[in-house]
């Protein structure tokens, strides 16, 4: 609880003024004005302090993710089970895209009515991809005439990923088909799969016959496919350069490339470079969920200034795969052992 001395002084000033009139100017009937003056804070502040602990506030969002350009509807939902109205509640929150986060603080002044559970909706417009985080950082509830205030430990974080806009007929003809290494034809040194089964999953059209777990399939009455644990990088690694100024374009291109590659049935991995920890994370993209998961993780990565940091770090760290698809902005480069291969 915080006591606001200045508010109390202002309040006392009026009290003293009335008292002055009572005492000096003998307006003894003004004593009755002093009663509410003493009574109001004496009654309302304890009631406020008792009830304020019972209110709660959480945050949320209507959607989990959206496409860039769409609005996200966040909401702050309060619940006041008491009969006391809290007429000055100030929720401190931040609303940031993780790629372009600022230290901007927003305050939402709410009137919390008694016996009510209500929502305040915050409609956020998006223009860039990234993870939009609506984070509650505390709520200050001020009591009668601002004399006391209580900081409630409101803490929530709501994340909504903003994905690139789905593009139809993306022209990625320049990207060559890889020869289609699989776990059998793949050379030992490159893109090996181990014999360990990662998971058993249901058959999806396009799965190779060799992957079908026939024994299990016969038992289950439906086709089951073995997903093998990889021992090394895949043959084709897509490395997006998370450079700050071109991140939107890069992600757009990445999205187009991944969809095109998926459409061609190409097996590939996205390699995300964390410029702070200098580490790489690999994401095998074989469906939309895996791509979404990849994006979600990517949205939390720090951006950097250089246009080829990920690519250079990749080769410098002696990664196994030699075939690398580097994406920066609208540019897509195919590199083999660090040497650019002409896409034409």
């Amino acid at each position: 609880m915080k006591i606001h001395v200045w508010s109390i002084i202002k309040y006392l000033f009026i009290f003293i003024l009335i008292f002055f009139f009572v005492v000096v100017f003998k307006q003894n009937y003004l004593v009755f004005l002093l009663f509410p003056y003493v009574l109001l804070p004496a009654v309302l502040i304890p009631v406020f302090l008792i009830n304020v602990k019972k209110i709660s506030l959480t945050g949320g969002s209507v959607v989990a993710d959206t496409e860039v350009g769409n609005n996200i509807l966040f909401f702050a939902e309060y619940d006041n089970p008491t009969y006391y109205p809290f007429l000055k509640c100030s929720l401190t929150f931040s609303m940031n895209n993780m790629f372009f986060s600022t230290d901007k603080i927003n305050l939402l002044n709410i009137n919390i009515m008694p016996k009510k559970k209500d929502r305040i909706n915050i409609s956020v417009k998006t223009s860039k991809i990234g993870m939009v985080v609506f984070e509650g950082k505390g709520m200050k509830v001020t009591g009668f005439m601002g004399m006391v205030s209580v900081n409630l430990p409101v803490s929530f974080s709501v994340q909504v990923a903003v994905f690139p806009e789905k593009k139809e007929n993306v022209d990625v003809a320049e990207i060559p088909y890889s020869e289609g290494y699989d776990e059998y034809t793949e050379p030992d040194l490159k893109g090996n799969l181990s014999s360990d089964i990662k998971e058993i999953r249901e058959y999806r059209p396009g799965d190779r016959l060799a992957r079908i777990h026939w024994k299990l399939s016969s038992k289950l009455d439906e086709l089951a496919v073995k997903e093998m644990e990889r021992t090394s990088v895949m043959s084709l690694v897509v490395v997006p350069e998370l450079e700050k100024s071109n991140i939107s374009a890069t992600v757009d291109t990445l999205d187009a490339v991944t969809h095109e590659l998926a459409k061609r049935g190409e097996r590939f991995e996205i390699c995300l470079f964390n410029s702070v920890s200098c580490s790489f994370d690999y994401y095998v993209i074989d469906n939309e969920e895996s791509l979404t998961a990849c994006y979600r993780d990517m949205y939390f990565l720090p951006l950097y200034e250089s246009a080829d940091m990920a690519k250079e770090a990749y080769y410098a760290s002696n990664q196994k795969s030699t075939l690398l698809l580097s994406i920066y902005g609208d540019e897509v480069k195919l590199l083999e052992d660090g040497i650019e291969v002409s896409l034409n």
């Binding site: 009026i14 000096v24 003998k26 007429l87 305040i120 909706n121 417009k125 005439m145």
Partner: protein, 950 residues
Amino acid sequence: MRKRLSRQEKKQILELDSTGIAIEDVYGSRKASPLFLCLSKAMIIFLVCVGTVTGFCDAFSLNYDKTTIVFFTLAASVLISLLYFHKKVFYIGYIAFLILFTVELLRYYLYANSGFQAITNHIREEYGEFFNMSVVRSAEESITNRKLTITIALIFIIAFLVIMYNITVSRYMNFAETFGISFILMQIPLYIGHKPPLFSVILIMTGCICTGLLQKGSFNRVTIPGKNAPDYIKDKLFKKTYYTTRGDHRGILMVLAISAVFSFFICIFSLPAYSRDIGETPEDSAKASLDDTIKILVQNGIYGLFNSYDSINGLNRGALGGVSAVSPDFRTDIVVSYVPYGKETIYLSGFKGVSYFGTNWNNRIDLKDYSELGLNINGRDYISSQEIDSIDHDITSNMLKVKDSVTGAMQIDYVDKSFGMDVYPYITYPSGIESGADPIYEPDDPAKERVVGTGKAVYYPIQYAQYLGADDYSNTNSTVVTLPKSSDRISTLSDGTYRKTVNRLYIDEMTDGIVMGSTADGSPYEKISYQDYIYDACLQVPDELDRYLDTFVREHSDFGLTGFFNHRMLTNELNEIRENGIAIELRTTEIEDRQVVYYDIEDAYDKVYALKDSINEYRLAACDAIKEMFLAEYPYTLSPGKTPRGEDYVRYFLESQKRGLCSHFASAGVMILRHMGIPARYIEGYCVPYSLVSEEADKTDIDGSDWFSGENEFNADKTVYSVPVSDYYAHAWVEIYLEGQGWVPYELTPPSFEAAPVGAEMSGIGRFFSQLLNVDLGFGAGDSDSSVSIADENTPIAIEEDETNKDLAIFVYPLLFIVGAVIIFWMLFLLIRKAVLEIRYSKYIKQGNFAPVVYARYNELVKKLKRKKIVTAANPLPMEVCNTLSAYLTNKVLEKSQTLNENQDSKEMYNKTFSENLPVFKYIEQVLYSDFRSNIEEYNKFYINLKTLM
């Protein structure tokens, strides 16, 4: 054409560009209605404003039309609060309001002005009554129907007040400012103990508490919303972005209800405090100084505040009219030490006003008219007051040979260093002060040395004279005037000398004695210039005032003021004698058988002194008449108010002010006396009543016999008393000139009927707590000494007014009023909402957008069914409602027709009802849940069916 972007849009684009996101809108689950928000604030404004205005008017018992005022306040509050409805409405509305205000004010200027003047006159009269002061600055009321004019004036005052309250409530929701406006206005009656009705106080309190509760709440942050203003208004301050709700009328009404209940209960518990009378107010320096300022304001307006000078209780060295009220500080100015010789008041004369100039008295005389006074003036063109004192002394001390006179000494000690005037013990005159004669006690005499104060101490040898009343003066010739012995006269005559030339008697100016002389020789005295001073300088009245006094004296003939014109003739006769002597006749008589021829001087003496007696009688009778008139028509007050600039002090007092303090009575008295031909002067100084000696004086251990000789009333106790004289005893009085006696004081100031101010009583705080402790809480209303008292079987039962019921009524009425107001407001709210919604729906229907209208109608039906507990689900689907309703209706019909047992019947009936209701719900389902596009006919059909259902 490219759309021009607003500033807000540009900002959003920039924000989107830099951060990728921008908060577009913040809104609640229920759209805030600016209309009802404004109306709910109007409610607060109305309560405070109506409470303040009716409280103010009722406290002063002003005659006005309360109903009109209440309705106008309501209308004005609603209108003015609606200015915050919309940005454009705000600007245009304010301008329109001000134009309307000005135009109407010009139209009803005469009424409004008269009403306003009526209010101010009434207030000033009330203040005048309270402070017991004359209020003469009456504003002119051109229209005399006060009820009408006051009501109209109040309407304009309310229009102004609601603007003020609109700012403090609608814009800022500031408790202090709202309370301040009401409190300041309420202070006008409260200051003089006029309490507003409790009903008004409850209204004010409700509004103020409500404002206080809403202050610091988000309700206070209401800017002027635009047409599509967001529910939460965005504001940037110190790198922080605030999204603040515009508020909700439901919240405001709820808080208003809480405030009403709160103030109601407060008033119940604090009623005893409110019901207490103002009682006696002990003197307090802060209050006294504010009282002074208020008195000046009431009497002289703001101008009066800038036309004032310091005054010691009216002791202003002849300056007149610049003091609104005297407020003695009760601090000792001088200490006089002497042996009291009787119970009469001793006057200490300080300033002698001779020449009157309308706004002041001057103690100097223009030399050109009085060049023969024989003074060494060293080239000056005036004669100073000291020189006049000296002449006074020389002449009058020779005259004053009072029988049984006593002598004594008085020591005057000037305690207050700021006191800049020498005063002299009155009746007799200081001797030797100017001439350097020795004081009667040597200051270095250790036995008699006393240090009374820090100021200078002067010892005056004085000769006391018995204070003479009117009866005494009329017979003083035998005591005052020294007659030549008859033997001298005889011897003069019997020496055989017979001079034919000796045929007149002359009056000696210096001794008032008489000598014989001849016509041929003329007066044996070189000049009679002091008589010039008396009969010229001390009879001067400004011409204009003289003319006024002529009328005034005639108007007051009831008091006998006109009966003194013979006095002039007598005075002229005496002055003629003074100048030319009186003829004496040669008579013969037989002495020792011989014929003796003698001058009949006794006859001449008798003639002269009879003449003087007659003159003195007239003069004293004139003073008595004036005193009687003052006593009857001119009350004494310590707060007479100032004389407006350009007004003659005396004329203003006599004609308009009609109340005054000593300087008014003394100045006016002198002028009236002079107008009658009676020489008179205006004197300022101190009076030392015997009560001061008996109550305040310190008995000293000085041997009083050294200070006093002769007989006094307290002969056995010739003790020197040291008497502190405060400024409360400063005074102004009249001196008249009595023939043969000189200047004698006359008290024309009527006694004061005001409660004497008390210097050192209980302090304010002490009194406050004592009052609190003595508060009668009034809980014994039903006890033995309460309402009904049966004195005797034979006497009728005396039923007093039941105070308890009265108290209850005080609370019930405001509560009913507030409840009524809230109910009316709520009904109005519902009606307006209904109207607004219907307008909106018709707009949708015109546009062909039936979905929101159908949804609203469906909701209405569901609400109604929920209220009747037919439907219990939170959000029922149309078909569910159709089923439930059909079942309900079927049961109802069956209950009535008593055919419940027939299952088949009930099933059929249900199916029938269901099929009847189905089109309505089918339509709802289609409109709300499919792409079905309805037309107006279908909607109308649906609406009619729905109405039948509802």
